[in-house]
Amino acid sequence: MHALVFIKQVPDASQVRVNYETGTLIREGVPAILNPFEAHAVEEAVKLREKHGGKVTVLTMGPPQATEALKECLSRGADKAYLLSDRVFAGSDTLATSYALFEGAKKIIEMEGEVDLFFAGKQAIDGDTAQTGPGIATRFDIPLVTYLIKLDDVNFEKKRAVATRLTEFGQETLQVPLPAFFTVEESLNELSHSPLPWLIKAAQSKIERLSSENVNLDREQCGLRHSPTKVKKAFTPEKRQRGETLTGSVEEMVQKTSDILIPFLKKDL
């Protein structure tokens, strides 16, 4: 079993503040964290390895600081971590990102062997686009299962898996051949505490570096210049103001609230 998990380091969106004067984000002092969905993706991959043997590899494309997030994945039980970092990637949009990760993944397959299951988070909390996973899966032309909430019956002999995902109206259970690509929800599993040996091993492991020097890249598909989408402007949304505070007795407030609710309701005649 070989699982490859695409992970991203993101600024903790909850701690990002906005400077309303300049209309920019204040990122200084904002801690970078492992995108929360990826912790669950790693957890699932590690669970599979514990059951079937094999290995879990993690890959991120990002600046050198992203090693921190990779280390967290190692301490969560991943076996090997790759950092794909290069100036040519700067400013990549999702199409360029999925290209870089696709090429990075192909390099990993070359070095570490075929991958049976690819995992990514459902979305990254900074950009919230949820496109990178579908993008990589399309480039590999392998089946995609988004919003994964349950993975069972992974059969490596028959090379197939049964997976349950969220849909607009509930859930559906799918059978897919392997290799397949999964983007995961947090409810997929509960995060477990890492045993001490994993933590020690993680502290001692080194992060493998990938760049345009050892990955076969078409520069015409990388970075800001070759990203089809461009940010024309960024601005802060109007800040919401505290509205009206209802006053009076509970009865009076209930009355007032029911008046407020009228537009959402109609009289049942």
Binding site: A13, S14, V16, V18, L25, P36, D93, T94, L95, S98, I125, D126, D128, T129, A130, Q131, P134, T138, D141, I142, P143, L144, I149, V162, L166, T167, E168, F169, G170, Q171, E172, T173, L174, Q175, V176, P177, E186, P228, K230, V231, K232, K233, A234, P237, R240, R242, G243, E244, T245, L246, V250, T257, S258, I260, L261, I262, F264, K266, K267, D268
Partner: protein
């Protein structure tokens, strides 16, 4: 492993692309309301660009949607009907849709930012090697360049970004349900139906659906609701949380919870609102016993009207609330329920 579509067939001359397309998402033959919202928006944009609006749908049987599609302003309805499209599956839908785009060259392509739409749009945009702007809340035409300007929230709503796709076509974008209004045209015309074919067969599709479960309890897409009533730790216990459910039901909405409510077992994770839960933007959000931690606010602060009930007058949730009720929710909510019942008020049904 290779690519599914021969991209050399794609026309890279952007001036050859014309008209605005809207993906009509449907399940078992019933169209998703966001499709009509997008058609209405597309019509407005098409007026500025002096072009046509095309609706496009894929399914086992979708031709019956034509009347509705034309009523909301489509000039043409492109459809591909086949048994293999009975249920949504990424790969056959992606391939069929990409082929239609390559053939008919729409300049702009709008898709609902639903579970299905997000799955599909990311795949189609990659297949076509074009740009995709996800989860937009505003669409305008730049009067100078004629380009589509797509505005979307990032960082959980702390920042807005306006994005363009200057050199690739179509300019693709997903839009959240409820952002635009579906407005039928005054004098609907009988449009033209254009049927596409697929050369896919079931044997060629490796992904099989084994089971579908429709549920309102377990996993729910909160983005679908106009009204959401959410409870937090302040509800005190699981029994009290029933009043959240009852109020939601009375208002024809969905119930939800904060992360603490989830951790305490009052609500399932699938109903969590916030940074690590769902992002919602209903017409009405009622927060009961929720402090309003930033991780919660980022998931709901774009709601049209927010009513909050909290005993602490300084609770941060009030900073984003339209109406602030400084009161014990356990006292207030049951009385509100009683009042609504007494007045015999029932939820206004969605138009569609």
């Amino acid at each position: 492993m290779g690519k599914t579509i021969d991209l050399t067939k794609k026309d890279h001359e952007i001036s050859h692309y014309k008209n605005i397309w809207v993906f009509v998402e449907q399940t078992d033959g019933v169209a998703h309301s966001v499709s009509f919202e997008l058609l209405s928006k597309a019509r407005e944009l098409a007026k500025q660009l002096d072009c046509q609006v095309g609706a496009v749908s894929i399914g086992r049987s979708v031709s019956h949607l034509a009347e509705e599609v034309f009523r909301f302003g489509a000039d043409k309805f492109y459809i591909v009907e086949d048994e293999i499209f009975k249920d949504y599956r990424t790969e056959p839908f992606r391939d069929a849709l990409s082929k239609l785009v390559i053939r008919y060259k729409p300049e702009i392509f709008l898709i609902g930012a639903t579970t299905q739409g997000r799955d599909l749009s990311g795949s189609v945009a990659t297949e076509l090697r074009t740009g995709l702007t996800a989860d937009t809340t505003k669409q305008e035409i730049d009067p100078e360049t004629g380009m589509l300007m797509m505005t979307r929230p990032t960082f959980g709503g702390s920042l807005m970004a306006t994005i363009v796709c200057p050199k690739d076509r179509p300019q693709m974008s997903t839009v959240r349900p409820g952002v635009f209004k579906a407005i039928p045209v005054e004098l609907p015309k009988e449009g033209e139906i254009i049927r596409g074919k697929t050369n896919l067969t079931e044997a060629l599709i490796v992904k099989k659906i084994l089971k579908k479960v429709v549920s309102s309890e377990g996993n729910i897409n909160l983005g679908f609701y106009d009204v959401i009533v959410a409870g937090g730790k302040g509800m005190g216990n699981k029994d009290n949380f029933n009043m959240i459910k009852e109020l939601a039901e009375l208002l024809g909405g969905a119930w939800a919870g904060s992360r603490k409510a989830v951790e305490l077992g009052y609500a399932p994770q699938s109903r969590q609102v916030g940074q690590t839960g769902q992002t919602v933007h209903p017409k009405l959000y009622i927060a009961c016993g929720i402090s309003g931690a930033i991780q919660h606010l980022v998931g709901m602060q774009t709601s049209d009207v927010i009513i909050s009930v909290n005993t602490d007058q300084n609770a941060p949730v009030f900073d984003v609330s339209t109406y602030c009720i400084v009161e014990d929710a356990i006292k207030f909510v049951p009385r509100l329920i009683a009042e609504l019942k007494e007045q015999k008020l029932t939820p206004v049904k969605n138009e569609q």
